[in-house]
Each structure stands twice: as structure tokens, then as C-alpha cells.
């Protein structure tokens, strides 16, 4: 019998980003004699994840600590693993290569460079870094969230005054000259459509659907989630329209809950072009000038394709709604993409399925803390799910564990989820899905292209082997889930 040795260690008062902690634990798990390892900020949620993983964390570890845990075949192997973790934390990096100080940057840039600073520090440190970057002529892609609104405005106004683009804060995706920054899919480059978006997975789903239709995209400007609020006034969206007009044959804008007055003025700016304005979750549908207005990404892709007179939107074969078992009544949706979660709710509501969420279409549909007996669509990338741990597109295990857990319930009729491929996403987006049970009807969409490194066909095959009904379009997956919920 092998007796395993569990060793715990805490690191106090030290900032280490959660992605690096994940990389450290994966690196240590490759060491000889190590069975499993974990390194996370010791929030109550993460302590429960340690327990789910089979660890027994010591009591009294607080959220200001980083907890390191190793399970190894011998004590020395466990100690060596903890030693390696501490060394990696001390070096603060996951790889080799020179690191520059901020004051060294000007000497590293030339007139031929189009500089974009990608900032992903905690939100309270963004302002000073961002203003410094604008001073040296860099555009910004601010991945960080929790930047105070008055600071966001200061950064965006400074950027606009200097003719520099401020993508974000809270910007997950941008594509500049065919290069994806943050989370983005590998597309066939070209300038059929210039994309602008305040929602990361909204941009990914839109660009993937355009690519699948044969329409080429080389620019997608992420604006950050607050850009179309009355306070920010669409500063980045306006700059992006000016940048893409003349460069691209058409423009598509995707957002959530835009300020109505801003929506109207932006549509007025683009309606002379083949264009689309997608307000996810909205029931609005119509055409203003040459701008198609819709709440559904696929409808916008069809409109652009018609306006440009080229491209063939993805046609998926019709799938008959599967028959659920007796006593199964609930829908449980867990998404890594907040925009896809939002769009799914709109489609389900449109089909008469009442669904609650932590990111609801309106406050009356707020899931609240206890939603065991409700239909839900949960955005697992929301703040409350990612405190002290990587986004589920980077580390999908926690989201996938929710799917596995609910697939074992006798009252669940539909399990609905998204799988997002591409740059920035986990190399194994199905990690943690091994125990998915075949009781409920499981429905998934894959947001990805054939060029994405995860292998879209392999992911599809693996899902289908688990009995999952797979769609390439998130709206089609949600519509199918609604159809299954309506089966008498």
C-alpha cells in the first residue's frame, strides 16, 4: 500500500496572480512522486475547491494567504515540491526572457511599432500604469476589471486627446491587424467586417460566426464593458468607428445593455455602411438605413452577409428535441462566456422559459444565493466565481465541476454550456468534465474555428462521446435547450 504524504505551506502578505499560481501547481504535478498539487489564494471558495480535490486544508488559513498543498508518495518528495513552488513564487514568473522596467520602455520602441500595452494587474493599480503608457504613446488593452469609473473616464479622455485607443477596462478580447490579444480565435484575415464590442465572448462568437460564413475579419476593437454607459459616453466605440471606417467594408458592433441615446447616435454614425448593431439580450429587431439591429449574433451575421452580397452563414442541421426522462424539469446552464450566458437567457425567455441568473436580463430574474430549485444560466466568469482563481476560460475545472454535479441530479432536464476555444483559452477546455452523467439532455456550443489550437473537431467528438448535443452556434444551442424544455 502506498502511504501518501500531504504537506501544506502558507505564504503570507504576498501578491501572486492566480494564473501564475495555477501554472505553478501544474508544473509541480509533473515532478516525480507528486500525485497532486494546488496553489491558490485561500478564499473560502478556494478552500472548498481544495477539499473537492481531496486535500484537507489546515484550519485558520485566511484569504490574505496563499495556500500551497502537495500530495506526494514520500515526505521528501512533498517537501521538494513545496520548495519548487516557493522558488517559482519568489521569481514571480512562469518563464524565461528579459523583463523591462516601465522607465526602460521608451528605449525599446521604434517609429515602426504600433504599441499596445496589455494590462492585467489588479484594478487599483491600473490608473498610474495606463497614464504612464499613454505618455509614451502606447495604446491600451486593459484586461483588468474593478477600475473605478472616474479613473476609467480619466484614462479614456487622455487616450482620446492623444489619438490613442483605450480598449477596456474589463476588455477580454481585441484583434489588431489579424493578431488576437487576450482571448481571441484564429481567423482567416481580411477586411470584410470590422468588429467593435463591449463584451469579450460576444466579440469571439461574432467573429467566429463571421469567419464560418466566409467573411474575413482582421480588426476587433474591444471597448470594455462600460463604454456604452451614459457616464463613459462611447468614447472608445466612437474612436473605433473612425478607425475602421474606410479600412473595412462593413462594421458590426456587439454590446450588452447600451444606453438608448448612445445606441441611437452610434447607429446614426454607421447606417450608411453595411453594418449591424447587436444589443445582446434585447428583443429589438429591425433595419435602420443599412444597419441591422438585433439581440442575436447569428441574425446580425445573416444581415451583414446579405448587405455585402457575400458569405454563407453557418447552417446547422435541424436536431429533433430529445425526450427527457420522468420528473426532469430544471435547466442548469453554466457558461464561461458572460455574453453567451446573456444571449442564452434572452433566447430562453423568448421561448417562454423563465430562467434566473447572476447576470440577469432584469433584476426580477436575479438568481440570488440559493438557486438549486430554479432554472438558471450562471456566468462562472463573474467576479464572485473568480475571486483568487483564474477565469474559467483559462482553468475550466471549476465550471466543469458544476456541470458534472448537476448532471447527477434526477430533477435536471437540460444541462447547457459553452466551450470557448482560441488564443488565451485552456488547452484542454473539457478538463474536469470526465464524470458527466448521461441523465439530463446535455447541450453545448463550441465557439471556435478549425484553426484554433485546441482542435474543434476533437473537442466536438469528445463531447459527442459523452452524449452531448453539440452546436457551432451559441444561439442555436440555447434554442435547442428551450425546445427540450418545452417537450410535454
Amino acid at each position: 500500500m502506498i502511504v501518501l504524504s500531504e504537506v501544506y505551506h502558507t505564504v503570507e502578505g504576498r501578491y501572486v496572480d492566480s494564473v501564475l499560481l495555477m501554472q505553478i501547481s501544474r508544473e509541480v504535478e509533473k515532478m516525480e512522486g507528486v500525485q497532486k498539487a494546488g496553489a491558490m489564494v485561500a478564499t473560502p471558495e478556494n478552500i472548498s475547491f481544495f477539499r473537492i480535490a481531496g486535500f484537507n486544508p489546515p484550519p485558520g488559513v485566511g484569504a490574505n494567504s496563499i495556500l500551497l498543498a502537495v500530495d506526494a508518495v514520500t515526505g521528501p518528495a512533498a517537501d521538494a515540491a513545496i520548495g519548487k513552488m516557493l522558488g517559482m513564487i519568489e521569481s514571480g514568473t512562469s518563464g524565461a526572457g528579459r523583463r523591462y522596467r516601465l522607465d526602460e520602455l521608451p528605449s525599446q520602441m521604434s517609429a515602426e511599432d504600433y504599441p499596445v500595452m496589455l494590462i492585467s494587474t489588479p484594478g487599483q493599480y491600473v490608473r498610474d500604469i495606463a497614464l504612464g503608457a499613454l505618455d509614451i504613446g502606447a495604446n491600451l488593452h486593459i484586461f483588468s476589471s474593478n477600475v473605478p469609473l472616474e479613473q476609467e473616464l480619466e484614462i479614456k479622455r487622455r487616450g482620446r486627446d492623444r489619438g490613442l485607443l483605450v480598449m477596456g477596462p474589463d476588455c477580454g478580447t481585441s484583434i489588431i491587424d489579424g493578431h488576437g490579444i487576450g482571448f481571441a480565435n484564429k481567423l482567416s484575415p481580411g477586411n470584410d467586417v470590422g468588429v467593435i464590442g463591449s463584451s469579450g465572448t460576444g466579440i469571439q462568437e461574432l467573429t467566429v460566426q463571421l469567419d464560418a460564413a466566409g467573411l474575413r475579419v482582421s480588426y476587433a476593437i474591444g471597448t470594455g464593458s462600460n463604454d456604452l454607459t451614459p457616464e463613459v459616453g462611447g468614447i472608445t466605440t466612437e474612436q473605433a468607428i473612425a478607425m475602421l471606417r474606410g479600412r473595412c467594408s462593413s462594421i458590426a458592433i456587439v454590446c450588452k445593455k447600451p444606453d438608448p441615446a448612445l445606441q441611437k447616435s452610434i447607429i446614426a454614425r454607421i447606417q450608411d455602411l453595411p453594418s449591424a448593431f447587436i444589443s445582446l439580450g434585447s428583443s429589438e429587431s429591425g433595419v435602420h438605413g443599412r444597419t441591422g439591429v438585433s439581440g442575436i449574433i447569428d441574425e446580425a451575421v445573416a444581415h451583414i452577409s446579405r448587405e455585402l452580397g457575400k458569405g454563407h452563414p453557418l447552417a446547422e442541421k435541424a436536431v429533433e428535441a430529445a425526450s427527457p426522462g420522468q420528473g426532469r424539469r430544471l435547466l442548469k446552464g453554466y457558461f464561461v462566456g458572460g455574453s453567451l450566458c446573456y444571449q442564452a437567457q434572452a433566447i430562453l425567455h423568448r421561448e417562454g422559459i423563465k430562467v434566473f441568473s447572476n447576470s440577469p436580463l432584469s433584476p426580477e430574474y436575479s438568481a440570488g444565493g440559493e438557486f438549486r430549485d430554479r432554472n438558471v444560466c450562471i456566468d462562472t466568469g463573474a467576479e464572485e466565481y473568480v475571486a483568487g482563481r483564474p477565469h474559467p476560460m483559462i482553468d475550466p475545472v471549476s465550471r466543469n465541476s458544476f456541470l458534472v454535479r448537476d448532471s447527477g441530479r434526477a430533477d435536471v432536464r437540460v444541462i447547457l454550456f459553452d466551450v470557448v476555444l482560441g488564443f488565451g483559452s485552456s488547452p484542454d477546455p473539457l478538463d474536469g468534465l470526465q464524470g458527466l452523467e448521461k441523465g439530463p439532455v446535455a447541450v453545448a456550443s463550441i465557439c471556435g474555428t478549425a484553426q484554433d489550437s485546441q482542435g474543434i473537431e476533437s473537442v466536438r467528438r469528445q463531447l459527442e462521446q459523452k452524449g452531448v448535443v453539440v452546436f457551432r452556434s451559441a444561439s442555436r444551442a440555447a434554442a435547442y435547450a428551450a425546445a427540450v424544455m418545452k417537450v410535454e
Binding site: Y100, E112, D113, G163, M243
Partner: protein
């Protein structure tokens, strides 16, 4: 907006997760050494200020 004829260069500040994905696409990346500023308790800050005088 000045961009035509220019080459994207990304300056990364914060998590380095995205860096290999950028390099895979042939993007030139500068990694910045960054850690949160040390926050001193206000009484220590005032002592340091007096010492500098």
C-alpha cells in the same frame, strides 16, 4: 488613427498567461517587471518623511 504600415508590439504588464499566445502569432512582446507597490502604514510613512527632512 496611426496604424497603417506599422507593426504591432505588445507591452505586457501583469499576468504573463497571454504572452505565449501572442508570440505564437509572431507578435513582438516586451514583458514588464511589475509587482504591487509596497503599501507602508501611515505612521511609518510619516517617520520616513521626517527622516528625509
Amino acid at each position: 488613427m496611426r496604424m497603417a504600415q506599422m507593426k504591432l508590439k505588445v507591452i505586457n504588464v501583469g499576468t504573463e498567461w497571454f504572452v505565449p499566445f501572442l508570440e505564437e502569432q509572431g507578435v513582438d512582446v516586451l514583458r514588464v517587471e511589475w509587482s504591487p507597490p509596497v503599501e507602508r502604514p501611515s505612521d511609518i510613512t510619516s517617520i520616513l518623511r521626517k527622516l528625509r527632512k
